[in-house]
Symmetry: C2
Subunit: 181 residues, 2 copies
DNA sequence: GGTCACATGTAAAGTGTTACATGATTCC
DNA sequence: GGAATCATGTAACACTTTACATGTGACC
């Protein structure tokens, strides 16, 4: 039983507690989104596939007249999830357009590079703020591993921040002409 | 003119100098792969699309009896690439299965988590070694921005390394029972 | 009455990986 | 002769994003 990326987040989330598709999306957005995102377009179809495969079980749990399906892990779902959790993780993958542009920009396009660095800084600050906002909530959890993972994100973003500082210096000041006074 | 991710790496590489599909792949593997990868399955079809669109021009340049197509940026290709280089970069995306597993593992599955941390460490060390191996070559380049980007990768991996160390401590030693001596 | 959050879904298009297939050349 | 590297490509599949469509409930 091979799990798609989306399938594993879904099962993982459902092991914490039964949820609807909508709630899974919310949970992903405020926890794993930084290193593992998922959209509605993946979640809803995948939930159906998982139900057909017998790994989750859905049942209607409307709130008022608003329909809603609550999904629960089946015994088989637990097994499959735990098997997946036990397998060695694939190496991380990154897609970082800012670095790509910087890589291609030449010395005579320095201004463009500076603009991009600025954008990257904003994005980095925004991401850091989001994570730090979550931190107190994660700190309150009993398990600790969520907090650990959050710290990974914060560490990486802080390192990026430092690098951005360094990069800006490099691009602002033209390389010193080696003229010690 | 909207460029796919693969299209932009290809054009970017061809701006450095004309190359064959095979050479583009090699160049990607030893420079941008860390933050922007591409496979043959993308490169070859994309080169044809780009040629049909008039952004690159291919011509046969066999080496002996071994066939080979050299692609060059057209004037329009230059324009399109430069337009793309000027647009603000999209925020980075990460897919990190190791963190996902750690996130889902509970306190009673600590051994599995430790195994995964070990795997992640190996992967991290391997990646760092690859980058450090490239560094001297990048240092020799005239432009400097390649070296800058490489430093970004090294910085991020070093930060990850530190975090891995920290995470291992946390998982090995059970949380201190607050008993100051 | 309008906007926002709740809630579920589909369709199409685009992106990407993997495995396969083919053949030449170089090096041991 | 065999393995590794050079070189190009296709086909099948898996994965993802985006836009659209629909309707309820809460709050101002």
């Amino acid at each position: 039983m091979k799990l798609s990326g989306t399938a594993s987040v879904i099962l993982g989330m459902l092991r914490i507690k039964p949820m609807s598709g909508y709630e899974i999306k919310q949970a992903v957005d405020e926890s794993t989104a930084f290193f593992w995102a998922a959209s509605y377009g993946q979640i809803y179809p995948e939930l159906r596939r998982l139900e057909r495969a017998g790994l989750v079980q859905g049942e209607p749990a409307p709130r008022g007249a608003r329909r809603r399906n609550l999904y629960t892990l089946t015994a088989e779902g637990h097994e499959v999830l735990e098997a997946w959790l036990g397998e060695p993780p694939a190496p991380p993958e990154l897609r970082f357009e800012g670095l790509l542009k910087l890589f291609f920009l030449r010395a005579d396009e320095r201004e463009v590079a500076q603009r991009h660095l600025h954008t990257m800084k904003d994005q980095n600050v925004a991401a850091l703020e989001r994570l730090r906002e979550i931190e107190p909530r994660a700190r309150a959890l009993p398990d600790g591993s969520q907090l650990l993972v959050l710290r990974a994100g914060i560490t990486a973003l802080e390192a990026t921040e430092q690098w951005l500082e360094h990069a800006e210096d490099r691009l602002t000041k033209p390389p010193p002409q080696r003229k010690p006074r």
